[in-house]
């Protein structure tokens, strides 16, 4: 059924259709609307039987999900940013124990300085935690990926993180096609755990593992993720058969035929990039887009196949490996091993900095001329950066950086970037 609803609401309704049995919630922007909506459904009895637990921290949220999942229940939670870091130990633990929890991450920057707006620093900080990580381009895909996430996670006994851009998607009202309960039931079988806490068949879960087997346990976690690379396209195909639309998969190429320049990105910014590419195509530029839906496991072969014919690759990412450059671009580079092409890393949109068509157009034109630095920070305000650097040279006690920069900018209303 077509609906014009908020992204968070769409995700909540999709999660409800998956018949979760335990949901734990701790408020953090911008994911709050998702668990609020689910809490309302449980309270009203429209989502039943289901336990909705208001926990005291994100660490507890993931821990409750761990307990519930180990006891055989389909478990769900949502978080963002600091919340994801606060639960980090339990995030690794859920993966290590092989518990197929599904979690929405409404992507948001990590402090300090505290910032509630969107970038991908949170999810990418936990890229090696052992979770499958899917990135949604729009609200329809966010909704669909949740349904696929339960199927995938439960088949592999691995937790799945569905990442959607905070505010840009979570708070955007878009048209979505909401599936029916019958469709979801046809796609998603009841959860049949591989391991479960049961007095009828007592097992110990979470024993200490020494050097004699630790490597092997970790290898199996890797091997399972590699299996996901095969399962995800198959599940996307099945999804299309039942729901009638393309959603999920590993990567998506857009106008890459004969493209000399291919832009790689994840999440909602792909929409803006595609608009720019459309305009540039009209004026004869050979440019295309490779959108990455699956970040972990990283689809090396699909990325390589998608980029092979290009002369240059521009990886535009909302994340940063401090002291190195990009995170996504480092992964992409591994996919291009042995291929000779220009590779550019563009860090953009950190902490919610708007990524505009105007800036992208300029950037891509420069890329085509190979006039880009290897690492570019899009729309960086060099004036305040340099002022701070000078201040630090001049005074030992130069003060807190963020506050200095804000003072340099002065009172800000809406800015045009």
């Amino acid at each position: 059924m077509l609906k014009q609803i908020e992204g968070s609401r769409a995700v909540a309704e999709a999660v409800a259709l998956c018949r979760p049995e335990v949901i734990c919630a701790y408020p953090i922007s911008p994911q709050t609307h998702i668990v609020e909506a689910l809490g309302e459904m449980v309270k009203a009895g429209t989502l039943a039987p289901c336990e909705f637990i208001n926990v005291e921290s994100e660490f507890a949220a993931m821990s409750v999900a761990i307990g519930a999942s180990a006891a055989g229940a389909r478990s769900y939670t949502a978080t963002a940013s600091q919340g994801l870091l606060f639960m980090a130990e339990a995030v690794f633990n859920a993966a290590g124990l092989g518990l197929p929890i599904v979690m929405t991450v409404a992507n948001r920057a990590i402090g300090a300085p505290i910032n509630i707006w969107n970038d991908h620093s949170d999810a990418l900080a936990l890229r090696d935690a052992g979770w499958i990580q899917l990135f949604a381009e729009n609200n329809q895909e966010a909704l669909d990926l949740h349904i696929q996430a339960f199927r995938l996670g439960e088949e592999l006994s691995l937790p799945v993180m569905v990442c959607m851009d905070g505010f840009i998607l979570t708070h955007a009202f878009e048209r979505v096609d909401m599936p029916t309960q019958e469709q979801v039931d046809a796609y998603l079988p009841p959860y049949e755990p591989r391991q479960v806490l049961d007095p009828a068949e007592p097992v110990s879960i979470g024993a200490m593992v020494g050097p004699e087997a630790f490597m092997e346990v970790r290898y199996l976690a890797h091997a399972k993720q590699m299996e996901a690379l095969k399962l995800i396209p198959a599940y996307a195909a099945e999804f299309k058969a039942i729901f009638g639309r393309d959603s999920g998969g590993l990567t998506h190429t857009y106008r890459c035929e004969d493209a000399e320049t291919i832009v790689v990105a994840m999440g909602s910014v792909l929409g803006t990039i595609k608009d720019v590419v459309d305009e540039m195509r009209e004026t004869g530029h050979k440019i295309g887009v490779l959108g990455i839906t699956l970040f972990r496991p990283f689809p090396l072969e699909a990325v390589r196949a998608g980029l092979k014919g290009a002369k240059r690759v521009v990886v535009l990412e909302k994340s940063m490996a401090v002291g190195l450059g990009g995170i996504l671009s480092t992964n992409v580079r591994m996919a291009l091993s042995g291929l000779h092409m220009h590779g550019y890393t563009v860090i953009a949109g950190l902490g919610g900095r708007a990524i505009t068509k105007q800036s992208l157009t300029k950037l891509f034109l420069e890329a085509e001329q190979d006039a880009l630095e290897h690492v570019t920070f899009l729309d960086l305000d060099w004036a305040i950066v340099n002022k701070q650097l000078e201040r630090e040279k001049a005074h030992r006690r130069s003060g807190p950086v963020a506050e200095n920069l804000l003072r340099d900018i002065g009172v800000v209303a809406a800015r045009n970037y």
């Binding site: 049995e21 335990v22 734990c24 039943a48 039987p49 289901c50 336990e51 637990i53 208001n54 926990v55 005291e56 921290s57 660490f59 507890a60 993931m62 821990s63 409750v64 999900a65 761990i66 307990g67 519930a68 999942s69 180990a70 006891a71 055989g72 229940a73 478990s75 130990e89 339990a90 633990n93 124990l97 806490l197 049961d198 007095p199 068949e201 007592p202 097992v203 110990s204 879960i205 979470g206 024993a207 200490m208 593992v209």
Partner: protein, 335 residues
């Protein structure tokens, strides 16, 4: 043949064996059909109080639930010595997740079981969470308090040996004042753990107004078992804090574990009581009041209070703590 009359309750407790008692007074632990939930062969130290406490408590919980029990366990001695895989000593479904999240994991299990029961997929199963004092009063305290205030259907058992014994005897917030640990060494003018710090989590549990809070020691088996049984009769958040002496960390002979627990209780340093819905309902009275020295002297962690010079100043402060417990909880038997 000479006749020796048997005097029951010689030391004020049930020191006679089960076979001399009527069936209803027999302990779970002394019965042949006990569950052995924490089975033999584990790797606890000789004389480990925690191993005793855990076996007593979980066997009693198994008895009370007809074996329909799931345990969540914090990281720590109990977790490490019981599951050096491929050997596990647990004959109950058991999960270890992390150090600080055991109460929350148990909440999740209880929530899952509730839904599964509503769906008719599972019969009634109860949940016990357990950890040491570090996993309870320090790193696990946030999750514990959360579980309490939500009144989740979990019995949390803290096995209190007054420190981080698994990592080499460091101070926790349950380490008593003046005790020597690796991080409160017996050096300087005020050797050992500082006064005026630390917390008594049973009192904090009481302040949550949860259905059941009790303390116990491994010295009073029947009292401990009765408290587990009572806890399992109730629903909601329940807390049992068991004093489990540690021969290694405290520095006493490994055959004196029970004695140490009894001395802690008899001196008043560890109050043994029971409370329902925030109100204390019973205490285990001190039968033979003893000065705190009796408890402190056999333990190497307090050796610096007796040599090279007798620290009467410190002993007086410790005695004052015991006296305050006796006063606060009414521990002296009414004449």
């Amino acid at each position: 043949m000479s006749y020796q009359p048997i005097k029951f309750y010689q030391t004020g407790t049930f020191t006679v064996g089960n076979r001399l008692l009527p069936p209803e007074q027999r302990s779970v632990q002394a019965q042949q059909k006990r569950y052995n939930s924490l089975n033999s062969g584990h790797r606890a130290c000789q004389g480990c109080g925690e191993a005793l406490g855990a076996r007593y408590a979980i066997d009693a919980a198994m008895e009370a639930t007809n074996g329909r029990l799931i345990c969540a366990n914090a990281t720590g001695c109990l977790e490490v010595f019981s599951t050096p895989y491929p050997e596990t000593s647990w004959q109950v479904p058991w999960i270890h997740s992390l150090f600080g999240n055991t109460a929350a994991v148990a909440t999740g299990i209880a929530a899952a079981l509730k839904v599964k029961m509503q769906k008719g997929e599972r019969r009634h199963i109860r949940v016990v969470a357990q950890g040491g004092d570090g996993g309870t009063t320090d790193i696990g305290f946030g999750c514990l308090s959360g579980m309490f205030e939500r009144n989740d259907d979990v019995l949390f058992i803290c096995y209190d040996n007054g420190g981080y014994m698994n990592t080499g005897i460091q101070r926790s917030s349950a380490t008593p004042p003046a005790a020597r640990t690796a991080t409160t060494p017996a050096v300087g003018e005020t050797p050992g753990n500082v006064f005026g710090q630390g917390k008594f989590v049973p009192a904090i549990a009481l302040a949550h107004d949860i259905p059941y809070v009790a303390t116990a020691t491994v010295a009073d088996l029947r009292d401990l078992e009765a408290k587990v049984r009572r806890a399992m009769e109730l629903s909601g958040a329940r807390y049992l804090h068991i004093l489990v002496p540690c021969p290694l960390g405290w520095g006493f002979a490994s055959h004196e574990t029970i004695k140490m627990a009894r001395l802690a209780k008899e001196t008043g340093l560890f109050p043994v009581f029971e409370a329902e819905h925030g109100e204390i309902t019973a205490v285990l009275p001190i039968r033979h009041p003893l000065p705190v020295e009796e408890y402190l002297k056999p333990q190497k962690r307090f050796a610096h209070l007796f040599a090279p010079r007798l620290r009467t100043d410190v002993l007086t402060r410790l005695q004052a703590l015991a006296d305050r417990n006796i006063q606060r909880y009414g521990l002296l038997e009414k004449p």
